[in-house]
């Protein structure tokens, strides 16, 4: 036990003092925040400031659509209205689209006694934001026009067109009602699952890299004269795991400080409300630790069979596959966190940590499912450790060539 502690301490101190630790502790959240900020900011300005032409046979409808396009959301848009438009206007405007004088032409024909037919012409086929905005403007404008011409007051028509927003409240297990937003739940789940998968894989790879470095530096035989291979493996996993926990603790403390600041006050109110439960706070380190132990014990066994880091890279897609699988299920999970697929994926050990957090973001799963997923993970960690310690025992003393599959199978048979 003393040797495990000493090996873990050495591993911990070496990694904590390393440049890579400082870089990832500061860099990872910074990169993540930058990605969110850039995607949010770019979505704000998406499709705005365009020069469009609305050509319609019905002048009232055309002007209605223009008012809705040039709204608060897009004050920079320039919209020319040509109504009533003729076939000659259409040809001239299409020429302007072709030579980029205008960005697009919205052509609306209103046959008597039928719904209007609309076509949007532009140089770009992928301008879905403008197309969606024009569609909404046309539909809202048409409904408004029909309601007011049918005798309804303008204010009543506006209210109907605007629609009724739904207030979402989440009913907690204790009956408490909490204001929630599906969109923010998705984001919260996504961020936590992303951090969990990144840290698990980064630290799992750290264990593997550290084993390869020790193999390259030929330190193993010196170590084996004092410590058992299982103690060496256990010490390494504990040491690197503790580094990961330290990093998560730093992020959590920073997050708490940030959320307690006035800057976060705005974020915590209104539609942008995010709430973190105690369960999430406790389970995040638990699932990190279990995920880390599962992946790092697997990586440790594989690393013992490799000679160089390049060889180890070959196994990376294998390691990342459960993460891809988990993230590909994100919409399914958030939409219905209790579907059989969601439950199965949250119990399947390689995907359990990420899926469980995605599920928790929308609804806390029953206690038995947590117990089952943690139990199954512990069982699979035990099995992986058994498998890896066999490979590790033999692999660390094999130098010079990569082990073939029959050789690996033979290693597993050695005591």
């Amino acid at each position: 036990m003393r040797n495990i502690f000493l090996i873990a301490k050495r591993e911990y101190l070496e990694q904590i003092r390393g440049r890579a630790f400082r870089m990832t502790t500061i860099g990872l959240p910074a990169v993540f925040a930058a990605v969110i900020a850039v995607s949010y900011l770019s979505s704000l300005g998406l499709g705005s400031g365009k020069h469009l032409a609305i050509a319609a046979t019905d002048p009232a409808l055309a002007s209605e659509i223009k008012d809705r396009v040039v709204s608060k959301k897009d004050q920079k848009a320039i919209v020319d209205v040509i109504a009533p438009a003729t076939a000659a206007d259409r040809g001239r405007l299409l020429e302007q689209v072709r030579n980029k004088t205008i960005d697009g032409l919205f052509w609306i024909e209103s046959p008597v006694g039928a719904l209007p037919k609309a076509t949007y012409f532009s140089k770009s086929s992928g301008d879905f934001v403008t197309t969606r905005r024009l569609k909404t403007a046309l539909n809202d404008g048409l409904v408004n026009e029909r309601l007011t011409t049918g005798g309804m007051q303008q204010e009543q028509a506006d209210a109907l067109v605007k629609g009724i927003s739904i207030n979402t409240l989440q009913v907690k297990v204790d009956g408490q009602l909490v204001k929630s937003s599906a969109e923010m739940s998705l984001w919260k789940g996504y961020v936590m699952a992303f951090l969990l998968s990144m840290t698990t894989i980064i630290y799992g790879m750290n264990v593997a890299r550290s084993i390869i470095q020790e193999k390259t530096s030929r330190i193993f035989e010196v170590m084996l004269a004092t410590a058992k291979p299982t103690d060496m493996l256990a010490g390494k996993l504990i040491g690197v795991g503790a580094v990961g926990m330290t990093q998560i603790a730093i992020w959590l403390v920073t997050a708490i400080v940030l959320f307690a600041s006035p800057f976060a006050a705005a974020l915590m109110s209104g539609d942008l409300s995010i709430s973190f439960s105690w369960a999430e706070g406790v389970l995040f380190p638990v699932y990190f630790l279990l995920g880390f132990l599962l992946y790092s014990s697997l990586f440790a066994g594989l690393a013992a069979t490799c000679e160089t880091e390049q060889e180890l890279q070959m196994y990376m897609p294998l390691a990342a596959a459960p993460t891809w699988l988990s993230f590909s299920m994100i919409l399914l999970i958030v939409n219905d966190s209790n579907s059989p697929w969601s439950v199965a994926a949250s119990l399947f050990p390689p995907t359990a940590p990420i899926i469980m957090f995605l599920r928790m973001a929308s609804q806390t799963p029953p206690l038995w499912q947590f117990a089952a997923s943690i139990g199954l993970m512990m069982l699979s960690i035990w099995a992986t450790l058994w498998f890896s310690s066999k490979l590790y025992r033999v692999g660390i003393l094999m130098y010079g060539k990569r082990a073939t599959l029959p050789e690996l199978l033979r290693w597993l048979r050695y005591s």
Partner: protein
Amino acid sequence: MPVVELAEVTKVYENKVAVDHLSLSIEAGQMFGLLGPNGAGKTSSIRMMMGITMPDSGEVKIFGKPFERQSLERVGYLPEERGLYKKMKVVEQLVFFGELHGLTATEARKRAADWAERLQIAESLDKKTEELSKGMQQKIQFIASLLHDPSLIVMDEPFSGLDPVNATLLERTLIDLKDQGKAILFSTHRMDQVEKLCDSICLVNRGAAVLAGKVREIKSRYERNRVIVEFEGNAAFLNSNEIAESNNYSGHAEIRLKPHGDAQKLLHEAAAGATIYRFELVEPSLEEIFIQTVGGKSDA
């Protein structure tokens, strides 16, 4: 009671017999040389002594008891495949290894400083290992294996890669340790070192012991058939019927006698025509015994 005892130990890898019914024993206060050509089974034998691998048959006893990990606390081991943590400071590294062997951090630090002084690397203690030369790193590995004051010292090729000055420094250290009553086993290719340092040897070839015992006894088993003659005058005696082969370097002749060749008769023949300054019947060197025993039979 022998400190280490191997009894009929065998180890087979795949289809290759690495160690074949090897038996040897080392007493306290004895320096033991494990010799053999490359691939003879020296490292495989040492690894079984250290519990790194287990014998397929036979028994390894350390301090009179069948191998158990606890015994390793009293063993200092310098493997052939040796390394250090490159990013660690030398002193931290030595303290780490000392603690693994059961020392307290304070005691390990104190002993590391004493050893560094003795092996003339005190100024390197606060440097990172990667900043040191290979020879310096080897000295640190040497210290790491001795820091916990082991009763049994096992070293696989301890002098390889060292310059003559440092090799001599380490040789003297090993002699001191032997005088303190430690049992020392080392493997080497350097026969001059074995001759100088070892009390007993075991020569292995293809996994099996081909020659074992005290150096003196082994040498005495071989006929003294080499003669060195320093002379002035007629060199006709070099054509004597007693001689199998001779080289004459202007008055300094190195002669190999025929089997059962008579040295006394040769001396009379030489003295008849020349003035003899030196006539020495030389015992065979370990190197000659090694070559003669292993001959072309090694796997290397």
